[in-house]
Homo-oligomer: 428 residues x 2
């Protein structure tokens, strides 16, 4: 029996995480199922940023680098993120973008392999990995190959391909923990162990997992990781990203974006580079203070869930919201025109549900536009993919009920056809 709207309201009223939603500002008329692209606005952020601008910058001026502790924001925010990803406080730092940070850790991993196993020059990844990860890996190879060559990115299509590629003894395995399209999740512990057995270092991109579920980088033996500040960490558009480097690698790790904030003594203005001890050597230029403060507010908001059960409770809710979406979609006309591609097994599922539109029956892009027109915001990815994020920090069960009701109605009424007509008119 599918849950009724009243059932959903009842579940919400018992939800131990319900209070967390109050720490966000959400538009009253919107059901937001795209927190996996851009997280919602924490209630604390606007005030903190206003104070930082008018007080710390406007009044404090240059003095605020010390007086307002801007100077160690990357370390302080990193230490908080460490609590969310199963890492030691000393092993995480917030800075730059995911793409730039991936460049750093790819180079660092390849430099380590160059010392330990000079023949290893291949980066293995999945063809379906988020494109920026693949593009950056190409850039790293391009630069390392400047004089002789041999570095390459090897893309695999599936698990068999992955196993075969690892058996060829690559230098690095670079994977995104949760697939941005399907929402399927890798077994971090098992894959890391397998890669290590083959002598590869492992880099995890946590873009779609950090903040949505408990992670255990240390327990899994991960070597490096990067992650995104603007999805489930709610750090705002283009928020700084983060880097994790396992303690065992830090003192030998070299990264080529060796800017002054990664120097052992940045304010001694020495002409030669000496890497800082520990994770700070993964910094590059001057930290982006405003973005870092917004990220800090986002992370604090999430850490506010710790007394309510923390990431384990968030994960349980995210899975329950996803199950509810799937159940309700299967009980209506959506069932006949959209195929679930997200694994149902919680051990293989991230924090979103994705459906492939049957393009012989519906126009997936037009359906998503029609939903957005009706204030249900998910997103569409070519070709034919409808993606709905289940951000457990601020989404209610009744939101999912209402969203799927509107989805089913949009399909039943074929109201999306008007949207398609409007869209086509725009193009021509």
């Amino acid at each position: 029996m599918t849950p009724s709207r009243a059932d959903c309201l009842a579940i919400d009223s018992r939800d131990p995480l319900a209070g967390l939603r109050e720490r966000f500002t959400l538009p009253a008329d919107v059901i937001y199922l795209d927190g996996n692209s851009l997280g919602a606005l924490p209630r604390a952020t606007a005030g903190l940023i206003a104070k930082a601008i008018s007080g710390d910058w406007g009044e404090g001026l240059i003095r605020s680098w010390n007086d307002a502790h801007w100077v160690d924001l990357p370390q302080r925010v990193g230490q908080k993120i460490a609590r969310l990803i199963g890492a030691r406080a000393a092993d995480v730092i917030a800075c730059d973008s995911t793409s730039v940070n991936l460049f750093k850790v790819l180079a660092a991993a390849l430099f380590i392999q160059q010392d330990d196993a000079p023949g290893r020059k291949t980066i293995v990844s999945e063809r379906g990995n988020f494109p920026t990860d693949l593009y950056v890996a190409e850039g790293v190879c391009d630069m390392l190959n400047a004089t002789t060559g041999g570095y390459r990115l090897h893309l695999v299509d599936d698990k068999d391909g992955l196993a075969a590629a690892l058996a060829d003894q690559p230098a690095v395995l670079m994977l995104t923990h949760i697939d941005y399209r399907s929402g399927s999740m890798h077994d971090m512990a098992a894959i890391t162990a397998l890669a290590h057995r083959h002598g590869a270092l492992v880099i995890w991109d946590l873009a779609h997992s950090a903040g949505a579920m408990p992670l255990e980088l240390d327990r899994c033996g991960a070597d490096f990781a990067v992650g995104c500040g603007y999805k489930y960490l709610n750090g705002g558009p283009g928020a700084p990203a983060f880097v994790f480097v396992a303690g065992r690698h830090q003192q030998r790790a070299r990264q080529p974006l060796s800017g002054w904030f990664g120097h052992a003594s940045p304010f001694r203005f020495e002409s030669g580079y000496r890497a800082a001890n520990g994770i700070s050597r993964f910094l590059s230029g001057t930290p982006q203070v405003l973005g870092m403060l917004a990220l800090d507010a986002g992370v604090d908001t999430l850490l506010g869930a710790e007394p309510l059960g923390g990431l384990a409770a968030l994960r349980a809710k995210s899975l329950a919201l996803g199950d509810l979406f799937i159940t309700l979609a299967n009980a209506g006309p959506a069932r006949d025109v959209m195929k679930l591609i997200t694994p149902k097994d919680p051990r293989q599922r991230g924090s979103q549900v994705s459906f492939l539109a049957d393009s012989s029956r519906i126009d997936g892009y037009a359906v998503m536009q029609a939903l957005i027109e009706r204030k249900v915001i998910g997103d569409y990815r070519d070709p034919d993919l409808l993606r709905f994020g289940m951000a457990p920090a601020y989404l209610r069960y009744v939101d999912v009920f209402d969203a799927v009701a509107i989805l089913n109605d949009t399909i039943a009424s074929r109201s999306w056809e008007e949207e398609r007509f409007a869209l086509r008119a725009e193009v021509t």
Copy 2:
């Protein structure tokens, strides 16, 4: 005859740029002579950021990438910066940090030379260049040398050294236009021409010049440039930086931080990298929206000076403020204990005046601390350097008068000795 305080007030009352100061929020009790480290807060910034947070992020959510035009902020802000540095609108883009951007242009320049003149593998720079520039150049060489070697950073100490290094046919000359310590300025046109005669590509770091004076990158034939958003552009702490690439190089330029925003079609999610046309290929990851909006406000504030005479008027005022500082310091006890190291010749001077403290007579660090205690904010750089920035957008002649009066009084009264005592007490 040295100007009196009344003279300075009279000059301020006639200053065509006086109104520009009203577009900034400055603390009432401070004389701020450190705009070369962190520019002051434009009056418009707080409101714009508040609206972006509460409205565009909080209400618009993911839709604001298009609806609030976040997606092309790097190009739009870059086009405005282009007007300040003598470049075509299509040749400048705002993104990342100065350090990260320098990595991109160094790699791009060396890749071009690899095609055109494969033997050229040396980057020439000055030992006194701002350290992050040197550190990043080391990182670039380190990575390019991964397999064979030959890339190196060659540092020179003076003009003779520079001429000799260029005669050795290096790949790249990388210079900061205005020295961060002495405030001395290179002749961009002459040095660029000299480097070109020797077949080197030229990268200019405009950290201490962009926004403080007219620049003519195109007329000088510069190949690449980077610059800082948080000094004279008033973009806020850790603001995004910018990149200039001469149009003639853009279509062949490759940069290895090849993130998705530099892709020809970022939202088609292709697995292989195809560089965007033009300057956009110098983007990497997702733009830092909050920082970019604050930078936009800072640049707009400066462009507001265009009807008042623009950069030429700002430059004239900056030089006049510097002359006034030097004259007044020379008329008091500062004369006997501090030696001007900034060139007096305006053709060789940036927008700051720097003095070397005579360490046998005063403790330069304690003097600067005593000045800051009395709300005159300059800065100190090891060893013995007192640095005073003349940000012409918001500094008044009377501010300089009062600052030097306090400086002379601090030295005459030896009040800095208490500061030194306090500092020593802190250390022990």
